[in-house]
């Protein structure tokens, strides 16, 4: 049995994500349009609308989900959301919460030199901006 505790006790992560993203997650009505269009939903362990639900219900598996690093901020979900929630901003907020704890997702020193030498500079800058603090 799951005990639903939303808004009954302080939900610090939800508060932080709403502050960093500027989005009101309680407007989501779980239609799943975000996941339906997401090109990388198949790679995710939590789908975008599940992330919103877990955040609002205080289920604490969101920060450890790989989904927040899979999202590449392509804005497809943000443009299609009928509730005008910018999910790309929610994902960015979650990444930022982790990165501000000094938990980098990519260890630059461990990347193979052949990769660093082959990819365009824009790939490196974008990757490090998203995955390191």
């Amino acid at each position: 049995m799951i005990k639903i505790t939303a808004r009954e006790q302080p939900n610090e992560l939800l508060h932080k994500v709403e502050e960093l993203s500027g989005q009101n997650l309680f407007t989501c009505y779980q239609c799943g349009t975000c996941s339906a269009g997401c090109p990388f939903a198949g790679e995710m362990d939590l789908l975008p609308e599940q992330i919103i639900r877990h955040l609002t219900m205080g289920i604490n598996d969101v920060l450890t989900s790989k989904s927040i690093w899979i999202c590449a901020s392509c804005y497809l979900c943000a443009e299609r959301c009928p509730r005008d929630i910018n999910m790309a901003k929610v994902m960015e907020a979650l990444r930022q919460v982790q990165l501000r704890r000094n938990i980098d997702h990519v260890q630059i020193a461990h990347l193979p030199p052949e990769v660093l030498g082959a990819v365009p500079p824009m790939a490196l800058v974008a990757n490090f901006r998203k995955n390191t603090g």
């Binding site: 590449a72 497809l76 990769v115 082959a118 824009m122 790939a123 974008a126």
Partner: protein, 295 residues
């Protein structure tokens, strides 16, 4: 016509063929182009966190410098530069308090409030020069080429900075048709290619590129055209050989195809700078005569 243009890091390194072909095409269209002075990296991705203002300094510094140099419009070639510069510009226009904080950090004599217009080269070609004028300049129509335009994300989204309809864009289709090519479309044209995941999760890129190329093949394309150097790298280097024994699709910038249709010298178009060699296709299709045959 005169334009100030912003190249960005990748145009000067792994996407040189985009710059050389773009400059050759602009020259052919009697557009004077000037590379802005003292540009820096735009930051590539727009920071989406409400409080992370430091990451808007790079694009705003670029726009501040252009303003100091007397410029009023900045034209980009790269989709990600376009998106990052345009979104940062929008931020200082819509949220002056944040603009003030960013200006305070940059600490230049002149404050910047979003006065510069950020444009993509495709907008110059469509809205200033016009595809009809481009069509009139074509001397080697791309007859026999079936082109699949790939838009990706940063040219179209968010809508506030998108240069075309976010769901059903037509700018590359219209341009390619003006050059005499046959164009095929597919909904996957506006899906992300995997972007910067190529650095540490390249299986995601390989998977997405495989899907994109398969859709293009299914529609009957024999070449992919695009405008983003990162999409280009991903599609050019991560495209698998088709399982039916067919050929991989060459991936060219729209400026290279304009150059071919204009009969510009092949060496100025950087056609030899691609992982997937476009020459066998271009010669086999006889779409572009070797000696610049006039039509």
């Amino acid at each position: 016509m005169h334009i100030d243009y912003y190249p960005g890091c990748t145009i000067k390194t792994s996407a040189r063929q985009y710059e050389t072909s773009a400059l050759a095409v602009l020259h052919a269209l009697d557009v004077q182009s000037r590379e802005m002075e003292q540009w820096n990296c735009c930051g590539v991705v727009h920071s989406l966190a409400t409080d992370n203002l430091i990451r808007h300094v790079a694009p705003i510094r670029v726009l501040t410098r252009l303003q100091q140099q007397g410029g009023t419009e900045l034209v980009t070639l790269c989709d990600m530069c376009y998106n990052t510069l345009a979104q940062a510009n929008l931020l200082v226009q819509r949220q002056p308090d944040k603009g003030e904080a960013i200006n305070g950090f940059i600490a230049d004599d002149q404050t910047y409030g979003g006065q510069v217009d950020v444009l993509h080269l495709l907008q110059i070609l469509r809205d200033r020069i016009g595809f009809q004028a481009i069509k009139r300049r074509v001397i080697c129509p791309l007859k026999g080429l079936t082109v699949f335009p790939y838009y990706g994300c940063k040219l179209l989204r968010p809508r506030a900075v998108g240069i075309d309809d976010a769901e059903t864009p037509s700018i590359l289709r219209d341009l390619m048709q003006a050059l005499g090519a046959t164009v095929v479309d597919d909904p996957i044209q506006t899906c992300c290619c995997g972007s910067y995941h190529v650095v540490n999760r390249d299986a995601i890129v390989a998977g997405q590129v495989t899907k994109i190329a398969a859709r293009a093949q299914l529609q009957g394309a024999d070449i992919i055209v695009l405008s983003c150097p990162l999409c280009h790298f991903n599609l050019d280097t991560h495209q698998p050989r088709p399982t039916d024994g067919g050929q991989r699709l060459p991936v060219l910038y729209y400026t290279q195809l304009i150059g071919l249709a204009f009969g510009l010298p092949w060496e100025t178009l950087g056609l030899d700078a691609h992982h997937i060699d476009p020459f066998p296709l271009l010669q086999h299709q006889h779409s572009v005569p070797l000696e610049g045959e006039r039509v």
